[in-house]
Amino acid sequence: MRDITDLGPNGYTRQSEEVRTRFERLKAREVILDVRALTKHFGSGENATVALNDINFTTHRREFLCIVGPSGCGKSTLVRILAGLEEQTSGEVMLLGKPVVGPGSDRGMVFQSYTLFPWLTVKKNVMFGLEVNGRGKFEAEQQALQWLQLIGLEKFADAYPHQLSGGMKQRVAIVRALANQPRILLMDEPFGALDAQTRCRMQAHLLDIWRKIDITIVFITHDLEEAIFLADRILVLSAHPGQVQELIEVPVPRPRSAAQFISPEFLSTKARLDAHPQIEIRRRRGGHFLDDNPSHRCR
């Protein structure tokens, strides 16, 4: 029996030996993304608002990092800067030691809105990145089909995006980004527009993909349970200005399953996140408040 008392709501900062060594090993791995003193101001002069203030963190190879925070904490801005879609006011983003300038195929991105190209079939969407980066058509097609097999959508290769459900679209968007073999996958609330059931399945799907390939993931969400379920570490941001509050190491062991939503590790991490006053705990989804008992979440 593990000692549960040191995982209780007040003792959550203490780590078991096993968890500590797990994270020491993680942090010993190669640094993929290094964010240093990143700030972002919108506007200039006296009207400037500080969206992000002195953000520092690193991600390591094959790490799953979640970023949580209340709306308006600049988490989307942060990930857009990482992707190169927006420019920071100061500070640096280093990918494998080289500064990030502008968007590029070394960083994949999945958006909350559906961004599959509606005029291309599913297969051609996945081929898109390979083709613009100079791969031959035949090679691109072979790889695209392999990616579609990985997510179980090979039957839909010739369908158009509007024929797919929301969850399927996001699965294709994930492999479209992965097909370029980026070093890091940035995900900006990718499951935010999905219903609760699909969301659960997508989370399991994503972990499955992540386990199979060598990819580091930075995942933005405002759903705390989603963050705990997915992440190795959770970066907690506060709003106005967006600042790092805490970097939480999630003790829940892998492989993860829905049953762990009521495990002591899960609940203590949840309690620790809930302790941040700014984070909204209850959210409306589909017109109903979610059942408070997290074990009912994923069936």
């Binding site: 879609l85 968007p103 590029g104 961004t115 190209f117 509606p118």
Partner: protein, 171 residues
């Protein structure tokens, strides 16, 4: 791009507000009485609208598609060729259908000036002889031809852009 639009749009707006038929007499004086002036009037009447409509349609393209393409490593001309153009093509096609209706109107107007044939010439001539039945028939024919081409173009559009849902829904 923004600089270009700021430089060019005021001029195009200016020309857009000049009524095409006002160029009729000029066009006849310069180009004679055959097809030349008709084509000129139609071009003046639709080209400047065309430029602004295309600019507007392009601006309406979902920015996140462009951003997604950029994160996949797409740059400059490829972005235009692989994302912007295919992205706006169905809307552009719809714009052309609307502008074709305008072109019809300008054709009718053009034929009022300095022609010795054509359907409008026929209408004005028959009206002068008070053969109103013929006038109605001619107007009906214009309507039928216009409607017919639009239906055909809509069908072609559906074939060309099978992914475009708004096209399917609107018909």
């Amino acid at each position: 791009m923004r600089l270009f639009s700021r430089l060019s749009e005021p001029f195009i707006e200016f020309f857009r507000y000049l009524p095409a038929p006002a160029f009729g007499a000029l066009a006849v004086a310069i180009l004679g009485i055959y097809d030349g002036p008709k084509i000129t009037i139609i071009v003046i009447g639709t080209l400047f609208q065309q430029v602004l409509i295309i600019a507007n349609t392009t601006r309406k393209l979902d920015v996140s598609l462009v951003e997604a393409a950029m994160t996949l490593g797409t740059q400059n001309m490829q972005l235009l060729r692989r994302v912007v153009i295919p992205g706006i093509l169905p809307d552009l096609y719809r714009d052309q259908r609307i502008l074709l209706g305008w072109a019809w109107t300008y054709l009718i107007v053009a034929e009022l000036i300095g022609t010795m044939s054509g359907i409008t010439w026929f209408i004005t001539q028959q009206a002068r002889y008070q053969h109103f039945a013929n006038v109605y028939a001619a107007i009906m024919m214009i309507g039928i031809i216009g409607l017919g081409t639009d239906i055909v173009l809509a069908l072609i559009g559906r074939r060309l852009f099978p992914w475009d849902r708004s096209l399917v829904k609107s018909e």
